[in-house]
Symmetry: C2
Subunit: 193 residues, 2 copies
C-alpha cells in the first residue's frame, strides 16, 4: 500500500536513537489518530527545540539563554568535566554537587577521528582562573580514560587539583554479577576502613 506521507514520517521516527522500523511505523500510525491540534503542537515543539536551544557560552551545556542556569548562580571554584549535556542532567539529579560544569561534547577517539581539537578543551583551559579543583566525570571506556589522562597532564602542572569520580561496584549490585573490568577497578581503588 502506497502511503507516502506515512512512510516519510516513519523514516523520521526511525532516525531517533534506538527506534527500529516496527516502532517507527507504530508511532507514525498513532499520529493519524492524534487530535490535529496536538499534532500541530508536536511539529511546533520540534522546531522550537531546534531554534531555542543553544550551548551555554561558558560551559557548553544546553540552554535557552546565553548562559545556562548553573553557570549563573553556582560556585565557580570547582568544575566538573563531562562528555555530554545529558551527563549534567544525571549528576544534577543527585543534588549534591554545588560547583559548575564543563561539557566537552565528546572525548578523544582516534578510531572515530575525534582529536583534542574537536572537543571543548581549549574552552576549558580558558576558564581555569580561580579554579581550585577539576573533577573529571567521563565514561570509564578507552576514550574516556584517554581524555582523562590528557586533561590531568595539562591541568595538574598549573597547580590545580584534578580528581576523578570513583568507579567500582554499583550500590546494591552483587559481586557475583559484576563484570571483570569493574571488579578490577574496584579492587585497585579500594579504600582503607
Amino acid at each position: 500500500m502506497k502511503m507516502d506521507s506515512l512512510e516519510a514520517l516513519a523514516a523520521c521516527f526511525k532516525r531517533l536513537p534506538g527506534v527500529g522500523q516496527k516502532s517507527a511505523m507504530r508511532y507514525a500510525y498513532s499520529i493519524i489518530d492524534t487530535d490535529g491540534d496536538k499534532v500541530e503542537a508536536f511539529a511546533q515543539a520540534l522546531l522550537d527545540v531546534k531554534h531555542n536551544i543553544k550551548l551555554c557560552k561558558v560551559c557548553g551545556n544546553y540552554t535557552e539563554d546565553s548562559l545556562c542556569e548553573i553557570c549563573t548562580c553556582r560556585d565557580k571554584s570547582t568544575i566538573c568535566v563531562v562528555k555530554a549535556p545529558r551527563d549534567i542532567i544525571a549528576l544534577e539529579k543527585m543534588g549534591d554537587y554545588k560547583g559548575v560544569y564543563h561539557c566537552l561534547h565528546g572525548t578523544i577517539d582516534f578510531q572515530k577521528g575525534i582529536s583534542v581539537d574537536d572537543i571543548r578543551v581549549k574552552e576549558l583551559l580558558g576558564r581555569l582562573d580561580g579554579v581550585e579543583e577539576i573533577i573529571i566525570a567521563l565514561d570509564a571506556d578507552i576514550s574516556g580514560e584517554m581524555t582523562s589522562a590528557y586533561l590531568a597532564g595539562l591541568i595538574k602542572p598549573l597547580g590545580i587539583k584534578v580528581s576523578r569520580i570513583a568507579h567500582g561496584i554499583p550500590m546494591g549490585s552483587e559481586i557475583e554479577y559484576t563484570d571483570e573490568m569493574t571488579l578490577q577497578k574496584a579492587l585497585r581503588d579500594r579504600k582503607d576502613l
Copy 2:
C-alpha cells in the same frame, strides 16, 4: 534546569505508544543534535500525515486518495473484516489474500462503552451485494469474540458464507510454552489428518 522547549517536546514524544519519560527525553535531546533541515522535514511530515491521510470511503483503510489501493483493484466477492488498518498491513505482508477488506475501527466492548453503533458495522452491511464470503480476522479476546458472533448472526441469514481465521499454536512454538487459552482453542479446532 529549566528548558521549556525541550520539556514540551519530550511531553509530545511521551504521548507516542509505549514511550516512557526516559526515552522521551532521549528523543528530545537527539533533536538538538539533528540538522535543522531534517528537523523541519520531521515537523512537516507530522503535519502531512495528519492532513493527507484519510479513511477509504469503502473499506475504512487509511489512504491518501478517496479509495484505497486495495479497493480499486481487488476481488470484491470476499471481504476480510479487521479491527484496525494496522491489521490490514499485517495480512497484506503475507501476500496470499486476493480479496478486499473492511475495517471496523474497533470491536464491541461494553467495559469501554463501545457499542455496535460506534464501529463500522452499518458500512459493512451496505456493501454485501455480490459478496460470497466474509472472513472475520478479529483478535481472539472477549471483545473480538463478541463482535465475531454478532457479525455472524447478522450476515449468515443473508446466505453469505461467514468464516473466521484459525486460532491455535503459532508455527514454530512449543506446546510446552503455549498458554492455556490457546491450547484449549487449538484442541477444540483440531483437524482430521
